[in-house]
Symmetry: C2
Subunit: 349 residues, 2 copies
């Protein structure tokens, strides 16, 4: 029987349970998971900083192989390629109806019937929905992409959600060619943002973080200038990509924008005091602030393409601590909490 890591709450250790696979329903696809990486939100749930309905299966940054196509399963992936048993695929964090108004408006990740991998409660009729498991059942309306087999599993798993979220942020930022981009927070998303902005022709990429080691690494991913948060910049910037979630960083970086500049806020997905905004400054400088949570189908496709084209151009491997198997998930989370690498990856093969 397939195994999965059962998570109840931050006070209980994971238990490795097993459960027979259900019969696939309409539109479903059975995937044998190959690799899952631990997103910051998984770690926050593990630590009790956020609460999911439980028991649950954590993990949504997943790559796997199609093992079975259910009745009326989709014929093609998001890029129009035929889906076949044996295809290596990854998929979006969400499944939702394309007929929902929000889906039609380009925000399927907020549609009313939203299903989110790695964020669902295990029930009698709802199982195998997270990455810390030998299998995932892909629900109807899940954006999925067949991957180039050359793309290593532990790198492919980053596509959802790190790379796709960054792709969304860059979509909201608009044209980056020739622009100066400030990346606040050089964690996994910030590092990918440096890489993506550099490939999109940004003229200057400034990374800010309080961690000097991460800043140094960001240089290898396209950052042309690095600063600690208290250091002042010489010039203003066109775009701020805000991954840090720190109030000071959000407030200060708006003051660093050129006239007509845009700040994209992604990081602050937790409760904290209000950000203080000078409305007159926003108006007289024609500043834009945009919030982004998760991403849409277009971002997912761009993320897949970006990683296929660039996985050899940047040393993504050095960001990922590998070597943990499903049975070692507790140790993997402890490693993530204690050593704080960019990513910890679970090998499910």
């Amino acid at each position: 029987m397939p195994k999965f890591a059962n998570f109840v709450d931050c006070n209980q250790k994971f238990s490795i349970n097993s459960q027979p696979l259900p019969v696939l329903k309409e539109g479903e696809i059975l995937v044998k998971n190959l690799c899952t990486s631990l997103c910051r939100s998984d770690i926050h749930t593990y630590q009790g900083k956020r609460v999911e309905k439980s028991p649950t299966i954590l993990g949504h940054e997943i790559v796997g192989v199609i093992e079975e196509l259910g009745p009326q399963a989709p014929l093609r992936d998001v890029r129009g390629n035929d889906l076949k048993i044996g295809d290596k695929i990854t998929w979006a964090i969400f499944a939702s109806s394309p007929e929902d108004d929000l889906s039609k408006a380009g925000i399927p990740q907020k549609a009313k019937d939203l299903f989110k991998y790695g964020h669902e409660q295990i029930t009698e009729h709802n199982h195998f929905h997270g990455g810390l498991s030998e299998y995932t059942i892909l629900r109807k309306n899940t954006p999925m992409a067949i991957l180039n087999n050359e793309l290593p599993n532990e790198i492919a798993s980053l596509i959802n959600c790190s790379v796709a979220t960054v792709a969304g942020a860059i979509r909201l930022a608009g044209e980056l060619n020739g622009k100066s981009v400030l990346v606040n927070g050089a964690g996994m998303l910030g590092i990918i943002a440096c890489a993506m902005a550099s490939k999109m022709g940004a003229a200057k990429i400034i990374a800010i973080d309080q961690n000097k080691e991460r800043l140094e690494i960001s240089r290898n991913f396209g950052a042309s200038e690095i600063h600690l948060p208290n250091e002042s910049l010489q010039d203003k910037v066109d775009i701020v990509l805000e991954f840090s979630g720190a109030i000071d960083a959000m407030e200060n970086s708006i003051q660093l924008l050129n006239i007509g500049g845009a700040a994209i806020w992604i990081g602050a997905v937790f409760a904290q005091p209000a950000v203080q905004i000078n409305a007159e400054y926003i108006i007289r400088n024609l500043i834009t602030i945009k919030g982004l949570h998760n991403y849409n189908n277009e971002d997912f496709i761009n993320a897949v393409s970006f990683m296929e084209m660039n996985h050899k151009n940047f040393e993504f491997e050095q960001l990922i601590k590998t070597g943990f198997k499903l049975e070692e998930v507790e140790a993997a989370f402890e490693y993530a909490v204690n050593h704080n690498p960019f990513r910890v990856s679970i090998d499910l093969t």
Copy 2:
């Protein structure tokens, strides 16, 4: 000799001075002013709430007739029509080089060599640059539009800046067809925003103001629902157009936005305490905030077209207190301060 109303500061009355017209320089056009309306910023300067370099000629919402074309004067207006002596025209608040980076980025109103009508100091070589004068000299690179003669002068003068600024706000808001729009502040700009949103197919237009009389008038300009600031709305909205400048209104209206909604801030062009923004809310709801100050060439063109097409569809006349001549400019400002009509207009014919 042509007369103009000389303004020094809020402690001195206007003086009606006269001055010979200079010889036109390259690219300049001499306009005999027909009508100028008093913008809120003119009134704030009159009251001492804002300070311009002085002596100055206030007034930038102007309509006039071409009296003389200087050497190398532009041949065509913004819509490609031939410019001739005798044409009734209006023009943008600004003149700036189209080669400036900000102009190229669609923000000519912030370009480095910016010249702003009604906001310049009178000097030996810089005169006749405001609307409270018998003449204006249009500088090189001024966006100008020949007007349909049917458009009454006191309505045409609203194009710059009220109507064009609203056109800019609506450009930033994006598609309005079928959307619900909240208009914060039912002053001149708010009223025009109701009218423009209604013509662009907005499904619902909610006006909020503390002035019940203005709210009632907004109904005649397209508002489908009116509320005092303390009344709660039944449904969320897609777009907020923020003209009130009130901190409470800015904070509250963000909470009223649907997922993916946008707030366009225009009103708060004065120093006041910070607006408190919940970043997590902005992010999880994919909210956009955009600041707008003045407008660009496209907005100016859209404003001209809107007023030509719609000046008979709405009773703009009822918003404007007319009957003041240039010599009565002091009385006109006093009327504006004491009676607070939507607009006070100066007849310069």
